[in-house]
């Protein structure tokens, strides 16, 4: 029987159009960021003018710095706690309140951000906490640790358990078996989880708007208030810089997951 090609012309067309749809707008934004003209849509030749403008804009620089600090801090805490949660879910068998536990971990993944943001703000107000760096960091940690938990858990689930069991049969204490056998095997997923948490935190507008205080705006909050007033070429430059930063993060994360897939099945679901 003739081997029929599984890939039809329709398949190729839908893939090509789909990917073009996903990438063209971002590409156009990057190109316009180098536009010399003040009018965003009139091409006036290549220029770095808007990048200079950004680096001279104190408020924007301060907001960027705030965002970066929050992203690093919250991603780090989220990775620690999220990994623990993943271990508990995939190795802990049954424990009291497990259903509630997994429910609390999966719900924030899809919970509308306005609800998460509002509820955390009301908590901070009730606790009389001063709103700023730490409140935003806590809020972002709460959201991103769930993503970390899912990524790490799926890696733990695909792991061959006999390795851990062998280590323990040979007399390793459970904690030691985890640290010396399991942890190195899931390390790439943990790295990928950190990266995901970092970019999610850098990206968030809604939750940060609710939980931050006066005078400590994050970069998305600043961008949002500028965009509401109209399109400014400087925003194109800032967005391009953020995209560049995230691209670096993605390259590192994909190297990590390549490392992970060379050791076994591919892990990251996201």
């Amino acid at each position: 029987m003739r081997k029929v090609s599984r890939l039809s012309r329709f398949n190729i067309a839908s893939l090509a159009i789909g990917l073009a749809f996903l990438y063209l707008p971002i590409l156009i934004l990057v190109i316009y960021s180098f536009n010399a003209s003040r009018l965003v849509t009139v091409w006036g030749g290549w220029s770095l003018r808007w990048y200079y403008e950004f680096f001279g804009d104190r408020a924007m620089i301060e907001a960027s710095w705030m965002s970066l600090r929050v992203a690093v801090a919250s991603a780090t805490i989220a990775t620690l706690i999220g990994t623990l949660a993943a271990v508990a879910l995939s190795r802990g068998e049954r424990f009291r309140g497990r259903t509630l536990f997994s429910g609390m971990l999966y719900a924030p993944l899809v919970m509308p951000e306005v609800i998460t943001g509002l509820s955390l703000l009301l908590l901070f107000v009730a606790l009389n906490a001063e709103r700023g760096f730490w409140t935003v960091t806590i809020a972002h940690t709460t959201l991103t640790m769930c993503f970390v938990a899912v990524v790490v858990q799926s890696r733990l689930g695909s792991l061959d358990r006999s390795l851990e069991e062998a280590a323990m049969d040979l007399g390793c204490a459970p904690v030691r078996a985890f640290l010396s056998v399991t942890l190195p095997l899931i390390a790439p997923a943990i790295v990928a989880g950190w990266m995901l948490a970092f970019t999610l935190s850098l990206d968030d507008l809604v939750i940060a708007s609710f939980t931050t205080g006066p005078g400590s705006a994050t970069l998305p909050i600043r961008i949002y208030s500028e965009v509401r007033l109209g399109v400014k070429p400087e925003i194109n430059a800032i967005c391009t810089l953020v995209i560049a930063l995230i691209a670096v993060v993605i390259v590192i994360a994909s190297l990590a997951s390549k490392l992970s897939s060379s050791q076994g099945e591919s892990a990251a679901p996201l």
């Binding site: 029929v4 890939l7 039809s8 329709f10 839908s14 893939l15 789909g18 996903l22 707008p25 971002i26 156009i28 009018l39 849509t41 009139v42 706690i81 999220g82 623990l84 949660a85 508990a88 879910l89 068998e93 424990f95 997994s102 609390m104 971990l105 999966y106 719900a107 899809v110 919970m111 509308p112 951000e113 306005v114 609800i115 509002l118 509820s119 009301l122 709460t142 640790m145 899912v150 858990q153 799926s154 689930g157 851990e164 069991e165 049969d169 459970p174 507008l205 708007s209 609710f210 998305p220 961008i223 949002y224 965009v227 399109v231 967005c239 953020v242 995209i243 993060v249 993605i250 994909s254």
Partner: protein
């Protein structure tokens, strides 16, 4: 004793820190939302009363409880603004999810039929935009859709339209933005089920004489239903509460519930009404949320 069981005990201890964290910063805050949704608006800081003060003694707390009421919910149910906002949120979410399914399915299907090597590349290509900032992607569309933006320039140059078309502040722009932002969420679960499907099933149906559309409709699509369910929930739930996309791309004459909540909170400073709106939103989403949680848990535990 099996090694698996020895491991279980320390693993359970690992749950303590994340458990405490999530109870404190996820569950408890909902208690506050519920409580404040039952409070009265007040011109004060914080702008609601009664404020519980545990030091004020038992009678004061009892009085505070007595002051709670469901007035805010009555207000929401009787105010057209809110009723319309909820209806609009649901309509937008249903329409957008249907569009996403229609657009995402062919792409996921194409991915699943690529040679194995290329599948991995395609998956990375679909995931990467998910990593780039949400706000930036919406902003990219404002660039394109504005009055003298690229889209109008192209349409004018091709003589398809005589005058620039108004794209921004329309529902069309909002749907473009939503589809653009949520497409990876729809494609990935669809692709995951389609890629796992046994190609022999489709081939067998074809060999038995079914035309391609029948193969698709009677074999492929029913088998991909778990992926469809996951993709639909993953998109529908957050879209109902979406704020940024309708705020930046849609017109301001009809609001979604996420926007009214934001407005009540930041502009009107009416925290109790905003909290009540959040509670109602949560109730609307409870069923899809529970479905989603079950799906997610089953999927991860099956591995």
């Amino acid at each position: 004793m099996s090694a698996r069981r020895i491991f279980a005990r320390p693993a359970r201890f690992a749950a303590i820190a994340p458990y405490v964290w999530m109870v404190l910063f996820f569950l408890v805050p909902f208690g506050f939302v519920l409580k404040i949704s039952l409070s009265q608006t007040a011109i004060a800081q914080p702008p609601y009363e009664p404020v519980f003060d545990l030091t004020a003694g038992w009678t004061a707390i009892r009085a505070a409880f007595a002051a709670l009421g469901i007035d805010n919910f009555k207000l929401i149910a009787s105010d057209d603004l809110y009723v319309f906002a909820y209806l609009r949120s649901l309509t937008v979410a249903v329409t957008a999810t249907a569009l996403l399914l229609l657009i995402g399915y062919p792409i996921a299907y194409g991915m699943a039929r690529l040679p194995k090597r290329w599948q991995a590349v395609a998956m990375v290509l679909v995931i990467v935009p998910f990593w780039t900032s949400f706000l930036i992607r919406i902003y990219a569309w404002i660039n394109i859709l504005q009055h003298d933006g690229l889209l109008n320039q192209i349409l004018l140059a091709l003589h398809l339209v005589r005058e620039p078309v108004v794209w921004l502040s329309t529902d069309t722009a909002m749907y473009i933005g939503i589809v653009y932002s949520y497409l990876p969420f729809m494609i990935l679960p669809l692709y995951a089920t389609l890629a796992k499907m046994e190609p022999a099933l489709e081939e067998a149906a074809g060999d038995l004489g079914a035309p391609p559309w029948q193969v698709f409709w009677l074999v492929t699509f029913p088998l991909s239903l778990p992926g469809v369910g996951a993709g639909v929930l993953l998109c529908f739930i957050p879209i109902v509460g979406e704020f940024v996309i309708p705020d930046l791309l849609a017109g301001s004459n009809s609001l979604m519930i996420g926007q009214t909540l934001w407005l009540e909170f930041f502009t009107n400073k009416d925290w109790p009404v905003a909290s009540s709106a959040a509670i109602v939103l949560l109730v609307v989403l409870l069923l899809p949320l529970l479905l989603y949680e079950r799906l997610q848990r089953r999927q991860l535990e099956q591995r």
